[in-house]
Amino acid sequence: MAGTQIRIFLIFWRLVGVSVKMNKIVASAREALADIFNGAVILCGGFGCVGGMPSTLLKALSELPVKNLTLVGNAPVLGLEAQKTAARTMQVPESYADGSLLLKNGQVSKLIASVPAMAIYRLQEPFPIVKALQEGQDIEIELVPQGTLAERIRAARAGIPAFYTGTGAGTLLEKDKEVRQIDGRPYLLEYALKADFALIWAYQADRYGNLIYKGTSRTFNATMAGAAAVTVAEVAGVVETGELDPEIIVTPGMYVDRVVVRQGETG
């Protein structure tokens, strides 16, 4: 029953050098977001004010006719005035924008955040989320501790459906959650936060979608990359494939679906 050995040396399609096929760079933010649908769950990168807010993508999203969005982020809707307060005397780039644009347009039906507004800043106007609620918008708020939010998003990226954490045990956040004693300490069961789109900020990309960041602007951007069905990154610039040292790539291209070069100089 020993089969005939077939040896084929002729067709050796091994790819050498750089091909020019795969290209995740998209011409415009609008094009990159064209398939966002009503009711989509959107991960919004950055930290809040500083930390790499994907302003170009959020602006484009605010111009699209989509609504009932669930917006997820650490502090994605503090608004420009809060950013200016945070920056104090630093000049905030004109191009800065955040998820509060979506609130103003009535596009948001649910906000999942650790900091929807801040008690310690006194602004001229109410924080955007407070204003939206005062205007009568029906927005559900799910308040999540920052670390639990990061881990729930990382869990989605990592295929972990649920995990236990000590954060929030013994507090109001226990409500409706499973509490489990492990080694004599109470922990809460938290579920992966699954999303349809992740909109993130990065510094540079190549056409495979490999990303690098800058300083304290990895934040939720690097956490969210790959944690949604579709990840769209905005970057300051695109470099040639191979130009990013493999040792310094923070987000491998596998986690990124589309890349857009941003407008202006946003933080």
Binding site: A117, G147, G170, T216, T219
Partner: protein, 238 residues
């Protein structure tokens, strides 16, 4: 050193807090008074400041000239770089916090209880008169902020609270039982205020240091639970 009598200002509170930072420690500073402590590391010590937004080993607060959009702390303050610093994502920053890799977390507080319970996130009581959870959870009308405080309070090896001793209207913030919603239970080990340094022990709150010119009675008068005065009570040491 001796100081003028009365309440200490924010910088002085931060300076006292910074005396707790030993060589090689990893320290996370919360917003407000705690964030100032990065400027008072004792000479000859390497203290590694960690921030939730993904940096370890930053220096002091940056001046306007030094400020860089990509080097901020979690209080939205620009900070300075130091040799040996590193950057990471939010999930890793909280792996560090949750995983017990932070030696000291300095947090602000609305209230600290005599058991060391911390309340520092929800302004206002969130339960109605039947004890049901209302407010934002159901109506979304008044959103508080949690930030990273719950993770820090649950995960750091040691929690120090830095705050004013009383509210603006003079009510005690060191209380028998927190009225505000809890951030984490039995987590605080040291309370540094503008009036005193108080240690949370199994026996109760021990008054270890008093601000210059203040007597234990002055401090007890604006503190709800009974304080145990330390045998070696000192003036606040800087």
């Amino acid at each position: 050193m001796s100081m003028p009598e009365g309440r200490m200002d924010e910088q002085t509170i931060a300076m006292r807090v910074a005396r707790e930072f030993q060589d090689g420690m990893v320290v996370n500073l919360g917003g407000g008074i705690p964030s100032l402590a990065c400027n008072f590391v004792a000479e000859g010590r390497d203290v590694f400041f960690h921030t939730e937004n993904g940096a370890l080993g930053y220096g002091g607060t940056a001046s306007l000239e030094e400020a860089d959009w990509d080097l901020f702390n979690a209080s939205f303050q620009p900070v300075t770089p130091l040799p040996g610093m590193s950057f990471f994502s939010h999930d890793e920053a909280f792996a560090m916090i949750r995983g017990g890799h932070i030696d000291i977390s300095v947090l602000g507080a609305l209230e600290v209880s005599e058991k060391g319970d911390l309340a520092n996130w929800a302004i206002g009581n969130m339960k109605d008169h039947n004890g049901n959870v209302v407010a934002w959870i159901k109506t979304g009308r008044f959103p508080p902020a949690i930030g990273g405080a719950m993770d820090l309070a649950a995960g750091a090896k040691r929690i120090i609270v830095a705050m004013t001793h009383t509210t603006r209207d003079g009510s005690p913030k060191v209380v028998k039982k927190c009225k505000y919603e809890i951030t984490a239970r039995k987590c605080v080990s040291l309370i540094v205020t503008d009036m005193a340094v108080i240690e949370v022990t199994p026996e109760g709150l021990v008054l270890k240091e008093a601000a210059p010119g203040l007597t234990p009675d002055d401090i007890q008068a604006v503190t709800e639970p009974e304080l145990i005065v330390a045998d070696d009570l000192k003036e606040v040491e800087l």
